[in-house]
Symmetry: C2
Subunit: 344 residues, 2 copies
DNA sequence: TTGAAAGCGTTACCAC
DNA sequence: GTGGTAACGCTTTCAA
């Protein structure tokens, strides 16, 4: 049975701690703040700490936030949650935030109910000190953040003229994948993208054509297909491209492992062997790549670093008022597995 | 350039709205509350609303929470985020919460830093009105929630003697999978579980042995293997079981699709054909099941309903003080795909 | 129908 | 070194 404080209330406040320790509320506050610079008699400090421990006191974050005009909380807005890249970003951002004594609130941007979305509450209601934005499919969000001058950082997204974003280099990575394939002797390259109205889709397409041009090849519209709905559609898209094409591709860049897996299934269904008759590479790695037969070669990006740096940069901006940079992480790696063969 | 209110401050408060509308703060508050029962002259109401709109006023959730002793926010503690079951639960819980005008804060329970975990802050600091708990691997959390009498509901978890949990029926589903396999003529069934110290692992093992007994079969310890670390380990575990066993299994229940995929790879590496020489079924479905060759038969649970009911039950308890129930959702479905064959 | 004022739990300024 | 007190932005009771 928990001890009672004021009539009927079971949660101790700072006043209860102060009373139990026989000091004033302000003294108790100073002790609890933990500030080493404050001058407090050691004996007093102990008495307060003991009282707080005995009562199980925890500061009320709401009252504290009201007073300090700071919540020590960050928000991250993500479009989907069960996605390896976002999962990694969220985890590393949370870890970095916690290390700096911030909380990270994850908010799913629900397409179905954008106007009631969590972020409105979080952000407009001053529930967080800053926001990490990993989706710009709702352009209203960034606008509103800017209008309300709420610190925010675009993560794995960038916007023309926007100050404060941190990205990995989808363009260059994709271009180098193309070069890699060409070096292996491939000349007819296909590209099956994800939704092209989204950021990642656009960047990868940009990198694909850039890579071709660097190799002196011309992009062939016939070899570029868009896949909006995942695995089964990817198989169809590939078959359509393959059948329609006069000179069929010998290698395919797939936006991610789900699409790669689907199009491999499609290729098989028309009798194509992977990698012997068709090379496939995924432009984004995931655990699925290793489970696949054959294992899918894929590009790996430093998403962990991305999340960590993002959280730290945002907190720096909050605490020091420092300007936010536009950062591009150039590191990436092509993990070679069994889905690509050399034509030489 | 945003308009200024009090000196140097750019965010309008209720006082600013009231001043702009020429009414008292309390009147503005009443209008903004939207309570239909309050008697307010229509003309006044319009004036306040107009002022609020013009200034872009949003109530400060921190101040409101402090005053009301209610945050209209829920927390959900999840062990991992990129997992199809948790993803679905989170999405549906968030949707249900938003419909009832609550926010849902997602909190990753980080094994590495349990004591700094978000939930402490959320919960102890009164940041939420209630908590959905989807992991009990840290037993301290539930204890503390109970001690502080914070409303909480176990989701997809249950605890001896705990009031308030909502689960799907892993035990019965697994038992019926076993019966299904036996009906198909299988007699030697293996089970490759996930971590057995976790809730789901225990329940599935319980269901596995229960199913065998119902069919008059005795569980064979030799045919039960534990897989803690995913795909590659699953292959090893299966091979170990298969080789060591005097009478090898003709069918395997795998805890999830990752384990199923891994053990199929292991089976292939020792020359076994799936499903011709070995049937495999996953006790939990995921998108991977369809991408696999052969597609993996798997059990589907109503996780969407689970999340929705959980949020609603928690909110009911918060608002009406209603007692929380222990609910078991009995629905599930075996999705038959290509990884199981009949011996008849 | 509207206004004044108290109070939620905290921090920080200013006295002592 | 410590205590009293105002203030953060809101809701709600009580009075007018």
């Amino acid at each position: 049975m928990p001890e009672q404080f004021r009539k009927g209330v079971l949660v101790p406040r700072l006043d209860d701690v102060a009373a139990a320790a026989g000091v004033a509320r302000s003294t108790a506050s100073r002790v609890m703040s933990g500030e080493a610079t404050l001058t407090i008699r050691e004996e007093t400090r102990q008495r307060v700490l003991d009282a707080a421990a005995k009562l199980g006191y925890r500061p009320d974050t709401r009252a504290r936030a009201l007073r300090l005009k700071r919540t020590y909380a960050l928000g991250i807005v993500v479009p989907e949650i069960d996605n390896p890249a976002f999962g990694t970003i969220i985890r590393s951002a949370q870890k970095a935030a916690i290390e700096r004594r911030y909380s990270l609130f994850i908010s799913l941007a629900d397409k179905d109910q954008p106007d009631t979305a969590l972020y409105r509450r979080l952000v407009e209601g001053k529930g967080v000190d800053g926001v990490l934005v990993t989706t710009i499919s709702d352009p209203g969000l960034v606008d509103e953040l800017r209008r309300r001058s709420i610190k925010h950082l675009l993560v794995n997204r960038e916007l023309e003229g926007h100050q404060g974003s941190i990205i990995v280099d989808y363009v260059e990575a994709t271009a180098q994948v193309v070069e890699h394939l060409v070096m292996l002797g491939h000349r007819r390259l296909a590209f099956i993208s994800g939704p092209l109205h989204q950021y990642a889709g656009q960047k990868r397409l940009e990198g694909f054509t850039k890579g071709l041009r660097r190799c002196g090849l011309v992009p062939d519209e016939q070899l570029i297909g868009e896949c909006n709905y995942g695995w089964a559609e990817a198989a169809e898209v590939f078959k359509r491209i393959y059948v329609a094409s006069a000179a069929p591709p010998s290698a395919v860049c797939a936006a991610n492992t789900t699409i790669a897996s689907g199009m491999i299934a499609g290729a098989r269904s028309i009798g194509l062997e992977v990698p012997d008759e068709l090379s496939v590479i995924s432009l984004l790695d995931s655990p699925l790549a290793l489970m696949h037969v054959p294992a899918i070669s894929a590009v790996q990006f430093p998403f962990e670093e991305l999340g960590r740096l993002a959280a730290n940069e945002l907190i720096d901006a909050i605490e020091n008022g420092s300007e936010m940079e536009n950062v591009r992480l150039e590191r990436f790696r092509i993990a070679e597995r069994g889905s690509v063969s050399s034509l030489r």
